[in-house]
């Protein structure tokens, strides 16, 4: 899945099956364990509580639930057999890649099977003639590039967590990254999928050729958050490494001026491979953590990357440098060597973790606004921050309007977590209000399922559900993710806190 693991407050029970939920494998599930062992081998099935607890959350650690049983298949046939067994017995299953997702999309089901793909991590083929790679779902995103790089190729989608996140998770979440602006998202790079459907059937979709005939099931499967099946083999396009890459760091005395530079670059018809922006608080955090040596006194910095044929890159560099100066940049540096470039990126890439040094806890938000609304939305976020006394650091993909506000708070301070959540939720409302999205790359998962009605009307949600049921009529594939369920969201579409009242009163069971 996507991006860096956050430092979030621990122990806040807000989740179906949070701490206190049953921790013993339920009897119905326990009866399946011998069959699961036959399928995956004894070492491929974890039933001990201590082992299961390792998997109780993904990157979003404030949603927790101990899985009923953990299975770690190594082949497509094993995946299919496990899912068929689940289907026969009506047992829910949750697929999990590297567990780096930030929407609790891989939150386990306490009465279900957690299907972990981490042992399926072979790169099966690097096919340079066809400019593609065939990989198993557990392969780490960056490993594809590592395998392709000696041949002059790379894999373009680059979530910030690319060293650890799995390609299978990227497919599930349609993960992006800084280079999406120019090169597109996971869905634009997946040519073929072997999937196991929620009924346990193995289906081949596409392959090395483009545009498989019939409905574009690949297009609909990518980003479906594990609700339509599990990808067991993935064919991705490889991209020719550009002749030249230049990274530019430009510093501004105001956030607004930085935003104007972004608009000017886009308006000039330049399409950089990345435009990232950081505000003063994010810069401060990055400096403290990695001493990235960004220009002193900057209220905002832009990291702009240009790539392509050398002559075109040189021409664009001149143009972008001038546009930044016109917008009021007081310092612009360009780096073309790999080392210098890495130094500029270091600050940006470490920003999430770095914030942990200036705040005991934080929430990473993931919303999108139209690029032209960036200035206004950032202003409103600043106002929200001032009103609530909750600090917000902004690090984001400015080129495509994907905000990642880091909402900082002290979890030792009573009520601070709640206020931070309110600010975080209000930021999403701002995104929706401006015609944006509640998630640009992390997915809906459990975390934002209750926000979906803010973005889509009932008819659209019902249509999503009709589509989902075509794949999973029994509702066993990653249930209660992506779409709001009345039981969990009925009373308050929005941020959930505390235990569901029906659960508290004993009238309903929450898992």
């Amino acid at each position: 899945m996507a991006t860096t693991a956050p430092h979030t407050p621990e122990g806040r029970a807000r989740t179906p099956g949070g701490p206190g939920a049953r921790e013993r494998t339920p009897a119905a599930l326990a009866a399946l364990v011998p069959r699961l062992r036959e399928i995956c081998g004894a070492d491929g099935v974890l039933t001990d509580l201590s082992q299961r607890r390792v998997y109780e959350s993904d990157g979003l650690t404030y949603h927790r639930s101990t899985p009923g049983v953990v299975v770690m298949p190594t082949t497509t046939d094993q995946v299919a057999s496990v899912i068929r067994l689940c289907a026969e017995h009506g047992v829910p299953y949750v697929p999990r890649g590297a567990g780096t997702g930030l929407s609790a999309g891989a939150l386990p089901h306490s009465e279900g099977v957690l299907l972990v793909t981490s042992r399926m991590r072979r790169i099966l083929e690097i096919d340079l003639d066809n400019e593609c790679a065939v990989v198993e779902p557990g392969v780490a995103n960056l490993d594809i590039t590592r395998a392709a790089a000696p041949h002059g190729y790379y894999y373009a989608p680059d979530p910030s967590s690319q060293q650890v996140c799995s390609v299978g998770g990227n497919v599930a979440e349609n993960s992006g990254g800084a280079h999406c602006l120019k090169y597109g998202f996971t869905v634009n790079h997946v040519r073929g999928l072997e999937i196991v459907t929620p009924s346990g059937e193995i289906v081949e979709l596409g392959g090395k050729a483009p545009g498989a005939h019939g409905y574009d099931l690949i297009g609909a499967f990518v980003g479906s958050e594990g609700t339509l099946g599990v990808a067991t083999r993935i064919t991705v396009s490889l991209t020719r490494a550009p002749e030249k890459t230049v990274t530019l760091l430009s510093a501004f005395t105001s956030l607004d001026a930085g935003g104007q530079a972004v608009s000017a670059i886009i308006a000039a018809g330049v399409l950089p491979s990345a435009i990232e922006m950081m505000d003063a608080l994010a810069i401060e955090a990055a400096e403290r953590a990695v001493a990235c040596d960004y220009p002193a006194g900057a209220a905002a910095v832009l990291v702009v990357e240009l790539d392509g044929p050398a002559v075109e890159v040189d021409a664009q560099l001149e143009r972008v440098t001038a546009l930044c100066a016109d917008a009021g940049s007081f310092e612009t540096r360009a780096a073309s060597g790999a080392e210098e470039r890495a130094l500029i990126w270091k600050g940006r890439k470490s920003a999430f973790a770095a914030v942990g040094r200036i705040s005991p806890a934080y929430i990473v938000q993931d919303g999108v606004v139209p690029r032209t609304a960036l200035g206004e939305v950032l202003g409103r976020i600043a106002a929200l921050s001032a009103e609530s006394g909750i600090r917000v650091a902004n690090v984001f993909h400015a080129g495509d309007g994907n905000l990642h506000p880091l909402v900082l708070f002290d979890d030792a301070e009573p009520g601070a977590g709640e206020r931070a959540e309110e600010v975080s939720g209000a930021i999403l409302d701002l995104c929706i209000e401006h015609g944006g999205s509640i998630t640009g790359e992390h997915g809906v998962g459990v975390d934002k399922a209750c926000k979906m009605p803010r973005m889509y009307d009932d008819a659209s949600l019902e249509t999503f559900d009709l589509f989902r049921r075509a794949f999973d009529p029994a509702g066993i594939a990653n249930p209660e993710k992506l779409l709001p369920t009345p039981r969990l969201c009925g009373e308050r579409p929005g941020v959930r806190t505390g235990v569901h009242p029906l659960v508290q009163s004993g009238e309903a069971e929450q898992f």
Partner: protein
């Protein structure tokens, strides 16, 4: 059985000959004035159990296979509007908008939808429903890669939206991709939002004549080893005589010089005649499919696109079917066109011959009436058909949207 459809905001008339869909004449034609009346007429059709096919400008009514049943043709041509937000490089557009109008509006702002239409005179909705992309799919992806949001009226008249107007968005299922190339069998598209690109300052076309399959393969592979970043690499492989590779380069006037030189350098050792030729604009009819005759689509792994094209020619030559192959060599998406009037039995032999070799599935996109009548299987084997049927069943349980026009009789 003509039933009177009295829907507010919607003109309904009896169908005429020009409303024929693959030889099937509908009972009535409805022309809704806006998305709401489209929704109302679809709901009315649902209540009456009418089968429905949607039409934009009608340029692809002879594409796909004949509907098994057709009571109502819904004409979306009045849903024509453009909402262009240049600063966001995004446009939202009504399904009935002529593609030419959209292109003109975007060009005026120095932007474009990086999609080469394959038909003249079509609408945006028609381009989406048929989903076939032209040469520039190499650089910016196929049409489905450019769609970021869509509003659709379901078979029951319910209006459903997916995606939105921002490029980066993973909220909900990307149903727009399903409808792109779905021939209106899952819903009637009312509007769509696209990501746009700036129009590059300059363009060059490098063309090389290639006398043999081997030379074409070598040329293509030499080109792939460069870093010139072409926008399109089109193969033209006629029924007889030499083939041609057309390489489109776009960028700044200064930058193009070196890229053109590198492209010429890669192709020159394999080109015959006077070597690669450079032009400053695209030829007339660039990327368009012939307006007449039977057309098939073949896909192949990119490295095998020349082999696939040559295999089609070989099979075609053996039965004198005159097949002409063109398409995006660097992506492996090829079209095969047969001259108008080519006898059905010859086309059948080519279709079966091409399908007999593994790795390049063929689908008949448009068949002349005598070819349709011959009962050739238009789709061949389509992997994932079971799931496609399930999706159809879920979204159109009455099978009333263009039944039979799609793969597997969907």
């Amino acid at each position: 059985m003509t039933q009177n459809l009295d829907v507010e905001g919607c003109t309904v008339r009896e169908a005429a000959a020009e409303d024929t869909v693959c030889g099937v004449v509908p009972q009535q034609v409805a022309v809704p004035s806006d998305a709401d009346s489209l929704s109302r007429v679809m709901a009315a059709a649902h209540r009456r159990g009418l089968s429905v096919t949607a039409r934009g400008a009608g340029t692809a009514l002879d594409w796909g296979w004949p509907p098994r049943s057709l009571d109502l043709l819904v004409d979306t041509s009045a849903l024509s509007w453009i909402d262009h937000n240049a600063g966001d490089l995004v446009v939202e557009v009504g399904a009935g908008t002529p593609m030419a109008d959209l292109n003109a509006a975007l060009a005026a702002a120095g932007q474009r939808l990086s999609y080469d239409p394959v038909r003249l005179g079509g609408t945006v909705g028609g381009a989406l429903a048929t989903g076939v992309s032209g040469p520039r799919r190499l650089l910016s992806g196929a049409l489905r890669d450019l769609v970021i949001g869509m509003t659709v009226v379901r078979a029951d008249g319910v209006v459903a939206r997916s995606g939105g107007r921002v490029v980066k968005n993973v909220a909900g299922y990307d149903l727009a991709k399903l409808h792109t190339g779905g021939y209106g069998t899952l819903g009637v598209i009312t509007s769509a939002a696209f990501r746009l690109h700036p129009v590059p300052e300059a363009l060059r076309l490098v063309s090389a004549r290639l006398d043999s399959r081997i030379r074409a393969e070598r040329a293509l592979s030499a080109l792939c080893e460069t870093t010139v970043v072409p926008s399109a690499v089109e193969l033209d492989w006629p029924a007889s005589g030499p083939g041609r590779l057309d390489v489109v380069l776009e960028g700044t006037p200064g930058g193009l010089e070196a890229r053109v030189a590198a492209t010429v350098g890669a192709l020159a050792p394999w080109a015959s005649g006077e070597g690669p030729v450079v032009a400053e604009e695209l030829p007339e009819g660039w990327g368009l499919l012939p307006a007449e005759g039977t057309v098939a689509l073949v896909t192949a792994p990119p490295a095998q696109s020349v082999t696939a094209a040559d295999w089609v020619r070989e099979v075609s030559e053996a039965v004198d079917a005159g097949a002409h192959v063109r398409g995006s060599a660097a992506t492996g998406a090829l079209s095969v066109t047969f001259p108008p009037g080519t006898p059905a039995d010859r086309i059948r032999l080519v279709v079966e011959g091409v399908r007999s070799a593994e790795g390049h599935p063929l689908v008949l996109l448009r068949a002349e009436p005598h070819v349709r009548a011959a009962g050739i299987d238009p789709w061949g084997e389509v992997p994932g058909l079971g799931l496609m049927r399930a999706v159809k069943e879920s979204l159109d349980p009455g099978h009333r949207l263009s039944p039979g026009r799609f793969a597997g009789g969907i």
